[in-house]
């Protein structure tokens, strides 16, 4: 415990509530009093109005809010899961089998320092503007932490336990299965949130630049049409959706960890 003065949880809630309320009130005041022009900022009220309007209205950007959210969700889910599904086994195998490590590592180290977003132009060449390109960028983004964490996890296996299993006549594959993978699990779980955060950023970048639907696209349209409220709505939706996905992954992670530790 640090020396900071402790606030009761109930009070803390009201204090947080108050701070957000003040933010919204100040924001509303700045806009309605005309301090900033409406080409720079729309009021919170107009954003809320737009939100309800966009639930059913496809104008001015071509899709309802639900369709945008769904498109983004689909892309992140596909890319993220693909990254885990390929990255984790790859990292595990690289950690244990020197040959696989030798084969894959050079390529991996070559790709690693390139920010995933830099792939966007190529992705457009290859897949056009649409779902496949987005998934590809997200996949590249999530792959790196998945591989690295699984790899490090294997390296952290207790050498004495491995030595002991060898004494019992265990094969390399048996040791991999019974010792390396369980040893790596905590590191792998640690990668879930990290990979998700990177994937989320990649999603938005891909949608801003190479997309015709999705929350990132909504923001781009808002910019092109000079509608700050559309941009703000897109940003807020990204925040809410991102929070919910993060929450779900966190729950899954906790569930897995408790299943492991019991």
């Amino acid at each position: 415990m640090n020396g900071r003065e402790q606030v009761k949880v109930k009070n803390l809630f009201w204090i947080s509530f108050l701070s957000i309320l003040i933010l919204i009130l100040v924001w509303q005041f700045i806009v309605s009093s005309g301090i900033v022009p409406s080409t720079m900022l729309d009021s919170p009220l107009s954003v809320i109005r737009l939100f309800f309007d966009k639930l059913t209205n496809v104008n001015p950007d071509g899709a309802t809010l639900g369709a945008h959210v769904l498109a983004s969700l689909q892309a992140i889910l596909l890319g993220y899961l693909l990254a885990l599904l390929i990255g984790i086994p790859l990292g595990l195998l690289m950690g244990w089998y020197a040959v696989i490590d030798g084969l894959v590592r050079p390529i991996f180290e070559l790709v690693r320092p390139i920010p995933p977003v830099a792939w966007i132009p190529l992705a457009i060449f290859w897949f056009g503007i649409g779902m496949t390109g987005k998934v590809y960028i997200i996949f590249i983004g999530g792959l790196v932490p998945a591989v690295i964490n699984a790899y490090t996890g294997v390296l952290m296996s207790n050498p004495v336990l491995i030595q002991m299993a060898k004494t019992y006549g265990a094969s390399k594959w048996q040791i991999f299965k019974t010792i390396c993978i369980p040893s790596a699990l905590p590191m792998i779980f640690g990668a879930l949130q990290v990979a998700l955060a990177i994937c989320w950023t990649c999603l938005v970048a891909a949608e801003l630049l190479a997309s015709d639907v999705g929350l990132g696209y909504l923001i781009t349209m808002g910019r092109r049409l000079l509608l700050p409220k559309l941009v703000i709505l897109g940003m807020l939706m990204l925040g809410v959706t991102g929070f919910i996905i993060g929450y779900i992954v966190d729950k899954i992670e906790r569930h897995l960890v408790s299943g492991l530790r019991r």
């Binding site: 207790n158 336990l161 299993a165 004494t167 019992y168 265990a170 010792i179 699990l185 492991l260 019991r262």
Partner: protein
């Protein structure tokens, strides 16, 4: 084993002959950890290696277990020169070394499983040794739910389950409080009487050594570890910490240790 006093036919389970071990640190510095150590253990003998901290005790065990090779000298186990880790040797480590994601029974079954013994059979084996080490009722506990003493019981059961005929116990009770330690010393005697094995036991505790050993091998206090003196302990078992011969031997060893430290 039943025939406790059978004829000794000079066959040793463990034989270390002039064993030396050095480690290199970088280019030039070489540290000698063991110097011409001779140790012999007959079948079903309880040999205690007594030495202060950092006298190369764990290193000696690693050589016997075949995890490493000596720099000079020879190690024989079952009359064969040690060249690789030997499944006939059960190692109970100074630091608890259990599979954290396996239950008590899972840990004990691990060896038989890796050796390809059928599920039914290895369950049987595990249950038998769980009983031997007194862990009934804790089969499905995970290591982090066990006390230190219980963890070492699992380690001992694991060695037995593996059908080891030599047990190397490296300061197994070093991390236990005095009371639990004394209790575990009685327990290891009970287990050993019930299921005889050749045991090598490392400790830095004189009482523990005198209580347990058929033979005590004292190492010198400074690196490199050298055998300083060997005591044959013929105090009848079960021993009491307050027996006159017990106290006499303990004092003798203690005085000697003070001289070499």
């Amino acid at each position: 084993m039943e025939e406790a006093n059978r004829d000794i036919k000079e066959a040793y389970k463990i034989e270390c002959i002039n064993v030396s071990k050095s480690y290199n640190y970088g280019e030039k510095t070489e540290v000698k950890v063991l110097d011409k150590v001779n140790i012999k253990a007959k079948e079903n003998e309880f040999v205690v290696v007594l030495g202060p901290g950092q006298s190369g005790k764990t290193t000696l065990f690693r050589l016997i277990a075949g995890f490493e090779r000596p720099t000079a000298g020879e190690v024989y186990v079952n009359d064969k020169k040690v060249a690789s880790p030997n499944p006939k040797i059960g190692f109970v480590f100074q630091k608890y070394m259990l599979f954290p994601w396996k239950t008590v029974i899972g840990n004990i079954e691990m060896g038989p499983k890796l050796m390809g013994i059928s599920k039914k059979k290895r369950r049987e084996i595990a249950n038998y040794y769980i009983k031997l080490v007194g862990l009934e009722g804790f089969e499905n506990y995970y290591p982090n739910q066990l006390s230190g003493g219980m963890k070492q019981r699992v380690g001992i059961a694991r060695s037995y389950a593996n059908n080891a005929d030599i047990l190397l116990l490296d300061e197994p009770f070093g991390q236990l409080d005095a009371q639990t330690r004394m209790f575990m010393e009685k327990e290891i005697m009970r287990m050993w009487n019930q299921e005889k094995k050749t045991v090598c036991f490392v400790t830095n505790n004189v009482d523990e050594a005198v209580f347990l050993a058929d033979r005590i091998i004292c190492l010198e206090g400074k690196l490199p570890g050298r055998v300083n003196k060997i005591y044959n302990v013929d105090i009848p078992r079960p021993r009491e910490f307050t027996d006159i011969p017990f106290i006499k031997l303990r004092e003798e060893i203690k005085n000697n240790m003070e001289l070499i430290l």
